[in-house]
Symmetry: C2
Subunit: 476 residues, 2 copies
């Protein structure tokens, strides 16, 4: 039988025993050889296949090492009763381990949400998706682009960086060249790279309190010592930063527009004072301006980077926030020697982005589609902010406090102390509504009892339904 | 004049001096106020605009801080002669800095290549691109998916991990659950994450020599001490690994199929010995099996991971290599507690992948499109390997040495010592051919005078044209 089932190619460069082993594993896996089946003795198998007995020994050893067969007293080798596929390989303790915890999804994963209050994301329903797809296909079928993309600079698509350099000048008075731009998978990668370049273990880093937990986590991962600077209605407390200047800290991380999580914007007076502190004390700053595009009250304040000419301020922006949350893209703006170092570090973890997608996106900046989309979003999100805040005020206004944000995509809603957010979150889930339990926004010392409520991606019907559920579960 | 040009909104929450500053910057940027224009004195401006003189002082200070205006002796404030936009902000030393060096593109960036010899990439012309786009659109327009994607597990799309767990079982006898899979942007990110979890500064890591430079760079970045183990025609020297076991090294990095750069495959005998060493000495292994799918001589050897049940082997695979080089995707397979930690680390640098794309790809695995595509590619690339190797042998065979690779997408071509690869690379560029100068493949100690020549993405016409150019520049 086995001389028919097992095909041996004597001209192959692969040793015969390996061929034999692989063929037998196939027979076992496909069910031809069932668990418990007795295999021929080494001598009989060798005879049947016309190979040296040592070849059969080696093949059996290989298959046994992979647990497909085992020796049974007085029976010789048999096909294993518990085949390797039937048990998870490597993973003895699997069932006891919880699944990887997603920082954006604290619990209730088994519920199917009908409605979601997110952290502040754009509405993908108004995004220029078809145009992106059109240009993406174009880029793909230009044979050249795909070929060349492998050898495009790892800082990002040449064409997109060119488009960005024009756009950043127009929108933010940031006069930068291509060499000052590194395109990343979302603003988060830009934070990680900037921090990796600047921080050594033990360095002091100033962050806002409350602050952006995923930035803090990066700094801590790199061994930094965090100093928390209070954030009030005018943004981060610059007088406290001035005091810290006496002891030569390494880095300040700041979110000038719509600070995360509280949505406050740095006041102009503080901004000016901060610029003069940077000039005087020459400390490094990561300016995370992920929300620049969405300022409703008036024109956004200009980035610190646009007023600071000595390369101390590294500027970070987000494309994701203007577009579609699943398409992650951001950028880091810095002096070219830093961009060069950041590019090297980026290659270690992500050789290059999707350069066809980046080229496709460049089209949208070049022909003004993105700019129009941002203006359109700005108008719509401002209306939605007003509707949502009015609903909150009218329906549950006595139970919460919030300030209408100047911009951004979320309201910072503080709940009355009588509400336990973890309980509310569970109750909401049972109503089909995803509501954060707020734990991610808390600092290590304080329970803020608050959540960010993203309004930008919700239409009025959804808002009304959400606030009705909130009202119900809060017993208002 | 200024009371017409400068609009002030006294109901705005923005301080008047900020409004004033922003408006004036706009006038300067738009060219209404030309460089050198004298501005009204503080008193006149305040009078004209009906604001307090202190407001004008604050506005002028803000604009001056951003270098839009400056004070000129005996003239008061004038619009700056060198406007901020005309010089690159931050970046005094810009012109002296070289652009970020791309490790995959050593030089000649200004040439327009007609032909490219790459490191070993798939042919995007045969990829199921239209199907991916179709499913991508489907995923996008399923409102739910985009909404939910924000809250999908950061380990990667639920659906794709499920598809992978089935596929890895069928193709590699790797019986893994979703919790054992982390989806990454290319295999490189998987290497970075696995190494970040396992390596502490000072740890000893065993790597092949010659070896994959981008993996070595990751280990060195993390502070590891590299020990280079020779790689010969049977793969890495396992006897040398055995000797190293005496001193308790931390990690072995191994590429079992088509080692990078030399394309050799680990022999079955060495593989078995290595498995027993791992079981005996319990060291950790990163098994980078980026090229598993493309084995021509016979069925690929099974991963070490499939024979090792204690979680010491972390397995890395690549989707990019089976699909399209610009769409970067890979995965890490490990015990769930390690995947959980790796997911946390991944979030710090890349909050989540493009989950719509991942869902789209899951379709292709579920309905067998990917499997068919891989079989088709395998057949085509084997033909191309044979054609390319025959051309090399017939046309320049006396000047080079190479072994026909068992699999993979590249041939490792060693040039006769009389050829200087850096010179050849320059000459090739002038003929419109991109040829690596080989420097990336060299170890620190040896000039191998060799390059990887990717054949998989070349059709016969391109191969003939490439070999003709090689012949010409080598004066054969």
């Amino acid at each position: 039988m086995y001389n028919i089932l097992l095909k041996i190619d004597r001209d192959s460069s692969q040793p015969i025993y390996v061929q034999l082993a692989n063929e037998m594993i196939q027979l076992i896996r496909s069910g031809v050889l069932k668990p418990g089946t007795k295999l021929p003795s080494i001598r009989n198998m060798a005879k049947e296949l016309d190979v040296h007995p040592r070849t059969v020994v080696a093949a059996y050893d290989e298959i046994a090492a992979q647990d497909w067969i085992c020796s049974k007293p007085r029976s010789g080798m048999i096909v294993a009763m518990n085949l390797p596929e039937l048990k998870p390989i490597n993973f003895q303790s699997d069932t006891e381990q919880p699944a990887a915890k997603n920082i954006f999804s604290e619990s209730h994963d088994t519920f199917r949400y009908k409605l979601i209050i997110n952290d502040g994301f754009p509405d993908h329903r108004i995004a220029p998706f078809e145009q992106i797809m059109k240009y993406y296909k174009q880029a793909f079928y230009q044979n050249e682009s795909e070929k060349m993309s492998m050898y495009s600079n790892s800082s990002g698509s040449f064409r997109l960086r060119k488009a960005f350099s024009a756009y950043l000048g127009e929108s933010r008075s940031l006069a930068v060249n291509m060499e000052n731009i590194l395109i990343t998978r979302g603003a988060q990668m830009a934070i990680y790279l900037a921090a990796s370049l600047l921080i050594k273990p033990g360095d002091e880093v100033l962050v806002g309190d409350p602050g952006y937990f995923l930035a803090n986590a990066v700094f801590e991962q790199l061994g930094a010592k965090l100093t928390k600077i209070p954030v009030d209605q005018d943004g981060i407390d610059v007088d406290m930063i001035e005091k810290a200047c006496k002891r030569k800290f390494k880095l300040l991380y700041i979110i000038p527009h719509h600070h995360h999580p509280t949505t406050v914007t740095l006041s102009a007076a503080r901004r000016m004072k901060l610029i003069s502190l940077i000039k005087q004390h020459q400390f490094k700053v990561i300016e995370d301006d992920y929300d620049y595009e969405f300022h409703y009250a008036h024109r956004p304040i200009l980035p610190l980077s646009s007023a600071e000419h000595d390369g101390h301020v590294l500027y970070i922006g987000s494309v994701t926030k203007s577009l579609i949350s699943s398409m992650r893209m951001g950028y880091l703006i810095a002096p070219s020697e830093l961009i060069s170092k950041a590019t090297h570090h980026k290659q270690l973890m992500d050789i290059r982005g999707d350069l066809l997608f980046e080229d496709a996106l460049a089209n949208l900046y070049e022909n003004g589609t993105m700019q129009r989309h941002i203006r359109k979003s700005l108008k719509l999100y401002q209306q939605r902010r007003d509707i949502f805040c009015r609903l909150l005020k009218n329906e549950i206004g006595n139970e919460i406090s919030f300030k209408i944000p100047d911009g951004g995509m979320a309201v910072w809603v503080v709940f009355d102390k009588k509400y336990n957010l973890s309980e509310l979150s569970s109750k909401a889930a049972r109503q089909g509504l995803r509501l954060s339990d707020g734990s991610l926004y808390n600092s290590s010392t304080a329970n803020l009892n608050a959540v960010r409520m993203g309004f930008a991606s919700l239409d009025e019907t959804e808002m009304i339904a959400i606030v009705a559920i909130l009202r119900k579960i809060m017993n208002v």
